[in-house]
């Protein structure tokens, strides 16, 4: 089992070396009661497979969608999720917190 964020980076390297497209999403800022701390990571491949977590399940689906976009364009992006976000009702954090996630492609 890959238990922590550093082990997940080992998987990211393995995936990329195996020829898969890979993106890494990292929690860079949190406000209020966020489920996972700054530095938490999600690794995503071009087929939408993922390892790790950035929110304990609340917004992973949306982050995977952003990651596929980043894999396609190659340009990194910073995305925010939380109760103040207009998409809160679809993919918001049920705990009422807010997080910023940096998504980048492994090139």
């Amino acid at each position: 089992m890959r238990a922590n964020d550093e082990d997940i980076l080992a998987s990211a390297e393995e995936w990329r070396r195996a020829g898969r497209d890979v993106a890494i999403a990292t929690v860079v800022e949190t406000w209020g009661s966020a489920p996972r701390p700054v530095g938490s990571r999600l690794v995503i491949d071009g087929d939408g497979n993922f390892l790790g977590s950035v929110s304990g399940g609340c917004v992973e689906g949306a982050v995977v969608t952003e990651a596929l976009d980043v894999i396609g364009s190659g340009a990194p992006k910073l995305v925010s999720f939380g109760v103040a976000d207009e998409t809160a009702w679809q993919v918001g954090l049920s705990c009422g917190g807010r997080i910023s996630v940096f998504v980048e492609k492994v090139a």
Partner: protein, 231 residues
């Protein structure tokens, strides 16, 4: 992230060295900073803070945002004693993401059959411990009940930066252990680093339950301040 950066980050971790990754949020450009090079970096103060606290952080410099990702080595649990509790502790520690090393000079205990796929040293602790590099990311767990084996390991651990030292045995057994340490000149403050009886007080009985209580106590040592508040 460049594949070369990712590779370097993973290599650093395997070598049990800390690393800091600085990423520009605007364009994704990045650089790895070795802890020895922090002082000369333009982000010296926040990099130093991140390394000391182990906390990654978003910082601003010259109107731009940078994310400092701090990577510390994997926690390692050094078990003195290839005993039943150690057998239960190995898979649990792995689930937590920790590395485990077992040391026990008794070759009947320290066998690959009892500990498959574990780094195993069937040697006396005073011979092998100096070469293992006990650092501030290493916990030392004494489980043999035998002062001949436990004590030399304990002496070495108490002189190291180990973040957790625990010793199996009753209060009476620990009382005798403390007396032996006092005779050797260890200070009360140093002796107080030892968690004994080992493990969280949760009524653990079976080897697996005791292993769980030890891992719980190790987690608490890592995450809580001495007063019990979050670190």
């Amino acid at each position: 992230m460049k594949l070369a950066t990712l590779t370097a980050l993973n290599e650093t971790r395997r070598a049990r060295r800390a690393a800091l990754l600085v990423t520009s949020v605007a364009d994704g450009s990045e650089r790895l900073v070795d802890p020895s090079a922090i002082a000369s970096d333009q982000l010296a103060a926040p990099l130093d803070l991140a390394l000391r606290t182990g906390k990654s952080a978003l910082v601003e410099e010259g109107g731009a945002q940078f994310f400092i990702s701090v990577q510390t080595p994997p926690l390692r649990i050094l078990c003195i004693g290839a005993v039943h509790i150690s057998q239960a502790l190995v898979p649990m520690a792995r689930m937590l993401g920790h590395d485990v090393i077992i040391v026990d000079p008794r070759t009947a205990f320290a066998t690959p059959e009892r500990f498959p796929d574990v780094v195993l040293h069937a040697e006396w602790p005073d011979l092998v411990l100096p070469s293992l590099g006990i650092d501030r990311y290493t916990a030392v767990v004494l489980l043999t009940h035998d002062p001949k084996i436990d004590d030399p390991a304990l002496h070495f651990a108490l002189k190291s930066d180990s973040f957790y030292i625990g010793a199996l045995g009753s209060r009476k057994t620990h009382g005798k252990r403390v007396e032996r340490l006092q005779v050797l000149g260890f200070s009360a403050e140093t002796i107080a680093r030892i968690h004994a009886p080992i493990g969280l007080n949760m009524g653990a009985v079976s080897p697996a339950e005791i292993a769980l209580s030890i891992l719980g106590e190790i987690t608490a040592s890592l995450r809580l301040k001495p007063d019990g508040s979050r670190a």
